[in-house]
Amino acid sequence: MKHLVFILMFAAFAIRIADANEPVSIVVIVNPASGVDHLTRDEVIDIFLGRYRKLPSGRAALPIDVAESSAERERFYQLLVKKSPADMSSYWARLVFSGQTSPPFQVPDSKTALELVQSNPNAIAYVDRASVGPGVKVVLEIKP
């Protein structure tokens, strides 16, 4: 019995350590009225990299970026396309200065991104899983 208690305590401790070390995943969110239940990783890449900004429901997609200095943004692009902030800046310089397309609409923080998605059926953003609030739908989870 003593052994069982010890094993359970050890397991609980190990799980807590694992939880604490596991980086929070990023989720991609849309408005429930967008008509979209799920997006593939490729579709999200195409929307956020300005290649094809159309949701599978036929709606135009309005991608939202949080501030360039935010850790959330850095992690999102690192997980999505394995690109650093400098890489992304260089990527957009290619497209913006040739007039091909424009980067995602930029807001100061995740709270503003969340509010925009809640109020706009075309908006699509990324937030930490822990930040997901009511009035939005998770369509893709990107795990580290």
């Binding site: 094809y52 360039e68 040739s98």
Partner: protein, 427 residues
């Protein structure tokens, strides 16, 4: 005497360009400070009706081939001499103003200053167009805009957007301006896991090519073309076609008449080609990979001209870079090759006919493009908007007009090592 005259002219040009050079340094410095200190301001403008952006490159370039002047492309009026360190070859600055007219309609404009064919730094409007797009799947543009010839970077003017200090002189050296006044339509559709994008464009182009004797060919052309891309994650595959037609020129028409009147078959054939409009076309095939730390591309270009007044070139370009933190070392190789030899008029080599033989030879010589280059360099990203690059190019010149051959007896193979240190920034 001629040499003395040239030297004094060169000195007076140097004095004149000194002030312009300082003005460029001042402008680049101001833009650099903006890039370093006012990032937040540029961000604040995001989503507003006006967006002001800027870019620049301040680069010092040198080379070691005695008797040569290295040029970035054939549109530059002068090149870097052996042992000289010059700022004009790779330095450039530009401002871009975008005006949002509605949710789907934009007006975009851009002005760029760089060394032009006249040896000046006068700003040139490289973009001024209306852009309509509902969701990026269909994009319409009308006005002045750039056409797609760069696989990973649609604009060669924004050094920050690519790995190297400059687009390959061997592959892109013949392109002096990459914009047209016209219209284009781009259509993107999902195809399997990736995207297919087709683009058709047409309009009026403007070129200025500077030849070794200092003469400038400035001409307008009717340009049209199409590109077909397949994009899947980090992969981009492209097939592109472009055709440019220049209106017949009086000098070429006169030469054509003389050649045709000679009755010599070789001359008549060349004369027939030089009569009327001159058309060149280009085909480009390429694959690029840009995913994670690895960036690579391979390109093939084929330029075909209907007469001796245009280039007939095959060109290859390959490049790979791998990011290690803020550092990205890269390697590249390029080869440009003239498919045809220099044609003879078949006329006797006598003093009376020397002007005709010389003109036909000169036209062809001015368009030669046989050389190859191996490039090694490193890009260091100082911040998300500023980088520092060091690049060395080892070029073997066989028979090429990209660089000016100023040797006492021009001709013959030569090796040239070009080194450049550049700072790029965007804001």
């Amino acid at each position: 005497m001629r040499r003395k005259t040239f030297a004094s002219l060169s000195q007076s040009r140097r004095r004149g360009s000194l002030g312009k050079g300082l003005a460029l340094i001042f402008l680049l410095g101001a833009l650099f400070v903006l890039a370093a200190t006012q990032t937040a301001r540029a961000q604040d403008l995001e989503g507003h009706r006006f967006t002001l952006r800027g870019f620049g490159t301040l680069a010092a370039t040198t080379q070691d081939a005695r008797g040569f002047e290295f040029r970035r492309n054939v549109g530059q009026s002068k090149g870097v001499g052996s042992g000289d360190v010059e700022l004009f070859t790779d330095s450039i600055a530009g401002l871009k103003l975008d005006l949002r007219l509605g949710p789907q309609l934009y007006f975009m404009s851009q002005a760029v200053t760089r060394l032009n064919a006249q040896g000046e730094w006068s700003p040139r409007v490289t973009q001024a167009f209306l852009r309509y797009s509902r969701d990026e799947s269909l994009v319409l543009r009308v006005g002045r805009f750039g056409y797609d010839i760069y696989l990973l970077a649609e604009s060669r003017q924004v050094g920050f957007s690519y790995l190297t200090v400059r687009p390959s002189a061997d592959f892109y050296g013949m392109v002096t301006n990459d914009d047209i006044d016209g219209a284009d339509i781009s259509l993107t559709r999902r195809a399997g896991p990736g995207l297919v994008r087709a683009r058709v464009f047409g309009g009026r182009g403007s070129d200025h090519t500077v030849f070794a004797d200092g003469s400038i060919f400035g001409g307008h052309s009717k340009v049209y073309g199409t590109t077909l891309d397949y994009l899947y994650r980090g992969f981009t595959a492209r097939a592109a076609y472009l055709q440019a037609t220049y209106a017949g020129q009086a000098e070429l028409a006169q030469l054509s008449d003389v050649l045709t009147a000679s009755g010599v078959p070789a001359s008549v054939a060349i004369g027939d080609e030089l009569r009327g409009d001159q058309t060149s076309s280009g085909l480009q095939l390429g694959v690029a990979y840009d995913d994670g730390p690895l960036q690579a591309q391979i390109l093939y270009g084929h330029i075909l001209s209907e007469s001796i007044a245009g280039p007939n070139i095959d060109a290859w370009y390959a490049q790979a870079g791998y990011r290690l933190g803020a550092w990205t070392p890269f390697l590249a190789g390029a080869r440009s090759h003239d498919r045809k030899g220099i044609r003879s008029t078949g006329l006797p080599d006598i003093p009376e006919l020397a002007p005709i033989n010389g003109a036909v030879f000169g036209i062809q010589k001015n368009l030669r493009a046989t050389q190859h280059t191996v490039t090694a360099g490193v890009r260091w990203d100082l911040s998300p908007r500023i980088d520092l690059k060091l690049q060395v190019d080892f070029t073997s010149l066989h028979d090429s007009s990209y660089s000016f051959d100023r040797r006492a007896v021009p001709g013959g193979d030569a090796d040239m090592t070009v080194a450049a240190l550049a700072v790029d920034f965007v804001f």
